[in-house]
């Protein structure tokens, strides 16, 4: 079993968690369910973690009045917050954790109430834990690609008091701190929590190994556990080159007095990068971006499948099977009458009358999503791409003011690409838009298909999508990716008809120099508004689009 084997890392991570659950802040265990994960969770049982899940209610999180127990006993019964009281909390299905839950967990972790083991089963791109939570979890282990043969049973975790004392006494030297900070810089890690957590892990590893000083190996291993997953795959080259000045003189100073213990950060970077397969690193980095874009609407609603809507005050109502009873509100409504009703009607714990029933109501106005489908092909790129980008920016600022969500699809060459998943973040949109290159053929049909797919997908998530196409209309790549003007036109027309049948009310903006009859026809098929803009004049576009957007 080599050094960076995930199983070895998992064992170390577990021992560190056992040593200092709150200090390590937590473990992010990325694994699908299976024997490997079962092995780890079984070993965790020794630490008796409290299990929680993403659907946890506020009452359980906050503690407070235990309604069921209170009603049974007839006197107030309280329970503690599940996060209070130190120790370890284990979050199953962490990839479905909402931003709200993450914020509560972060608060509890910051206050030192508990450490967290997050079992992340993320499979799809864009799934994943909220960033705030990821940043706080100290250790990362990915159990992908472990052969069954490698699964040696993990020894039960027990930490003896001597190790704890050693852990408390160990301190990182100035050089160790510097090495870790430099490693983070080389890996492109911005967060300052990373070197702190890595330092703590290094101390823990040294203590667990029974050493009284932190060795180079400890630092290396700590980097593998606590830093590897935070890095971006190619960051080591990109980020070290721009500032060569601090590097040489710091290493000069540090290496001179003490050569044995200090370790050049390059070695740590290498170790960290070697820990995780490049494709996983790339996925994590992508994920980070996608996540920061898609979590914009908060509370993980899109992942859950439908937006819950804004809760309205509960109404008195009848229980007809479809309505959801608001238990708390019902009890509240009944509460003031209890003494009176008790006097009238015998011994019962709670006197409820049908008039007390309160029904939950939600305001289910769904959010609009504008899907910008942008032609970045050669014909467009030559003359107009910059202008069109400007126009989109203007539309974006309008949709921002209206609190719409925005997604961006670019098509060029032979394919269409989702450049930005639905988001409300202008910063993200702007960045993706600026980075969009131009050139190549015009796969209009592919672009429309991508837009339609996205529209169908988000409609299922409770959005109301509208498709905005910006093109000069000379489709010349068909759906199969072949350069065939005829077929390309037919394909585009076919997809447009499907759009017209399912998602009408979009907008086709003709950015060609002359109004294009073909494109007008296409807009007709899409049941969309057609807007020829021979010169993309920002203010003109704004005036033209406003009524269409408002409808």
């Amino acid at each position: 079993m080599n050094d960076g084997h995930p199983w070895g890392l998992a064992r170390d991570a577990l021992r560190l968690i056992a040593l200092d659950p709150v200090g390590m802040a937590g473990l992010w265990l990325r694994a699908r369910p299976g024997p490997a994960r079962d092995g780890v969770t079984a070993a965790l049982e020794a630490l008796s973690p409290r299990r929680i899940h993403p659907g946890l209610s506020d009452e359980a999180l906050d503690g407070g009045l235990d309604l069921a127990a209170t009603l049974a006993a007839g006197a107030p019964r309280y329970r503690d917050s599940i996060l209070a009281g130190g120790g370890l909390v284990c979050l199953a299905m962490a990839e479905r954790c909402s931003a709200a839950l993450a914020a509560r967990l972060c608060q509890a972790m910051d206050a030192g109430h508990c450490g967290l083991v997050a079992l992340d089963e993320a499979a799809e791109e864009g799934e994943g834990m909220p960033l705030a939570l990821r940043d706080r979890l100290g250790l990362f282990v990915a159990l992908d690609g472990i052969a069954l043969a490698d699964l040696a049973p993990l020894a039960p975790i027990a930490v003896d008091p001597a190790t704890r004392t050693r852990y408390a006494d160990l301190a990182l030297t100035e050089d160790d701190h510097r090495t870790l900070v430099e490693t983070c810089a080389a890996l492109g890690i911005d967060s300052l929590r990373a070197p702190l957590l890595a330092g703590r892990a290094a101390r823990g590893l040294a203590a667990l190994a029974g050493r009284d000083a932190i060795s180079a190996r400890d630092l290396q291993r700590a980097a593998m556990l606590a830093l590897a997953h935070r890095g971006s795959p190619a960051a080591d080259e990109a980020d070290t080159t721009p500032d060569p000045t601090p590097e040489p003189d710091t290493t000069d100073q540090d290496d001179a007095p003490e050569t044995a213990a200090s370790l050049p950060s390059e070695l740590l970077v290498e170790a960290a990068l070697a820990t995780l397969p490049q494709d996983l690193l790339a996925r994590l980095a992508d994920d980070r971006q996608a996540r920061s874009a898609s979590s914009a609407h908060g509370s993980g609603a899109a992942i859950r499948g439908n937006r819950r809507g804004r809760p309205l005050a509960s109404r008195p109502g009848r229980l007809d099977g479809s309505a959801r009873l608001d238990v708390t509100a019902t009890l509240r409504a009944a509460a003031p009458w209890q003494t009176l009703r008790a006097a009238q009607g015998g011994k019962r714990l709670v006197h409820l009358r049908p008039s007390d029933f309160r029904i939950r109501r939600f305001d289910q106005k769904s959010d609009r999503l504008l899907i910008f489908t942008l032609d970045a092909s050669g014909s467009q790129a030559m003359a107009r791409l910059a202008e069109v980008k400007g126009a989109i920016e203007l539309l974006l600022s309008q949709s921002y003011a209206r609190r719409d969500h925005v997604a961006l699809i670019g098509f060029r060459g032979t394919v269409a690409e989702l450049l930005l998943p639905p988001t409300r973040s202008l910063v993200q949109t702007k960045r993706r838009l600026a980075a969009l290159p131009g050139g190549g053929g015009t796969p209009l049909a592919a672009g429309l298909t991508a837009a339609l797919d996205l529209a169908r997908q988000v409609a299922g998530q409770g959005f109301t999508p509208s498709i905005v196409v910006l093109t000069d209309g000379r489709a010349n790549i068909d759906l199969g990716g072949q350069a065939d003007r005829m077929r390309a036109g037919q394909d585009a027309a076919r997809v447009a008809r499907v759009i017209g049948a399912t998602r009408p009310g979009g907008l086709v903006i003709d950015t060609g120099r002359r109004a294009n009859a073909q494109l007008q026809e296409l807009a007709g098929r899409m049941a969309a508004h057609y807007l020829p803009l021979p010169r993309v004049d920002a203010s003109q576009l704004g005036t033209a689009v406003r009524p269409i957007l408002a409808s």
Partner: protein, 341 residues
């Protein structure tokens, strides 16, 4: 509970610290919005601020921290009317919070056990005369934001529900933090914050090492670390208290008033709130520096944090808003050399 990290020990992030100190000098400035990367000490600074602020004098049993017995609301039925010193309240508003918990609601315990209709105060009551801290403020649900806006505006929390009609004072300073990449804040809410600062991770290795070193020292031996920084924090507290006293005596020359107006017009900042905040912040800055009147140097120092979030939004502007403000400041007030003369 462990004591928070000392405010003076926070490395760098001068703008953020400055903004927080100024709202402590003059709470009527109206709160701070801190936007920036993760792990840059936003939460640390807010919690440190709580420990730094001088205690408030309040009625012991009052749920809304009233200063005098006469101010206690009727519904609270305050029994313990002694006056005591309490640390300035800093109340966390978690993201998933329900409306009930924010505004307060029927006290279900008393209702169930004694059959009485009583009001259980919420977070807004606890935050009165203190700070209300919202982490990830840009992810807060819209209906809670609306509610906060309303209360922050009026300084009073009005609860009309479950047959109760309750009102109580809720004057607090909003402190919000968040990461702009995860979503923007509505302009209406932005405008409610007095000051706004952007924080970034320090790029320089030495600074970063220092941050990590101090944090590590604090976590390993908190008592010793706090002792080391006690004097610095005490000095800061003294300076804040002195500035609070001096604040009323700060003179504001007419020329400065005109400068404020000129700046806001040049920037196209909406409404008079920007102008007022700029002036108040400059006054607090002058008081904190021990000056007798507000000068252009003070304006220059505080203009970015007081105005950058009030600009009419040009979401696609490449330069940051702070840069835009500085540009206009230089155009309007002249370059720095001219001001120094």
């Amino acid at each position: 509970m462990t004591k928070p990290f000392p405010f003076s020990a926070i490395v760098g992030q001068d703008d953020m610290k400055q903004a927080m100190v100024l709202t402590a000098v003059d709470p009527s400035i109206g709160g701070v919005l801190v936007f920036g990367d993760r792990g840059t000490g936003k939460s640390t600074a807010v919690r440190a601020l709580a420990a730094l602020l001088p205690p408030i004098r309040q009625v012991a049993g009052c749920p809304v921290n009233s200063a005098r017995k006469a101010d206690c609301p009727d519904w609270a039925e305050v029994e313990d009317t002694r006056l005591v010193n309490r640390p300035t309240p800093v109340v966390d508003l978690p993201l998933g919070v329900t409306e009930d918990r924010v505004t307060g609601a029927l006290d279900i315990e008393r209702a169930l056990t004694r059959g009485e209709k009583a009001f259980q105060p919420g977070l807004l009551a606890r935050a009165n005369r203190g700070y209300l801290y919202i982490d990830e403020v840009n992810l807060l649900e819209d209906h809670i934001v609306d509610l906060l806006l309303d209360v922050a505006q009026s300084g009073e929390n009005v609860v009309e529900r479950e047959g109760m009609s309750i009102r109580h004072p809720a004057r607090f300073v909003l402190v919000g933090s968040g990461n702009p990449e995860e979503g923007e804040l509505r302009p209406q809410l932005l405008d409610r914050f007095g000051l706004s600062v952007d924080v970034t991770s320090p790029r320089d290795v030495d600074t970063r090492v220092e941050v990590v070193r101090r944090r590590d020292a604090y976590e390993r031996d908190g008592k010793a670390f706090l002792r080391d920084w006690e004097a610095a924090d005490a000095d800061l507290r003294k300076a804040i208290l002195a500035a609070r006293k001096a604040l009323v005596k700060i003179a504001t020359p007419d020329a400065i008033l005109r400068d404020c107006a000129a700046l806001c017009i040049a920037l196209g900042a909406d409404g008079l709130r920007g102008e007022l905040t700029l002036l108040k912040t400059a006054r607090a800055q002058a008081a904190y520096e021990g000056a007798t009147d507000v000068s252009r140097a003070h304006l220059r120092r505080v203009a970015p944090m007081a105005l950058q979030h009030r600009l009419r939004r040009d979401p696609m502007d490449e330069a940051g808003s702070a840069t835009r403000v500085m540009r206009v400041v230089t155009e309007t007030l002249g370059p720095i050399q001219a001001a120094a003369e």
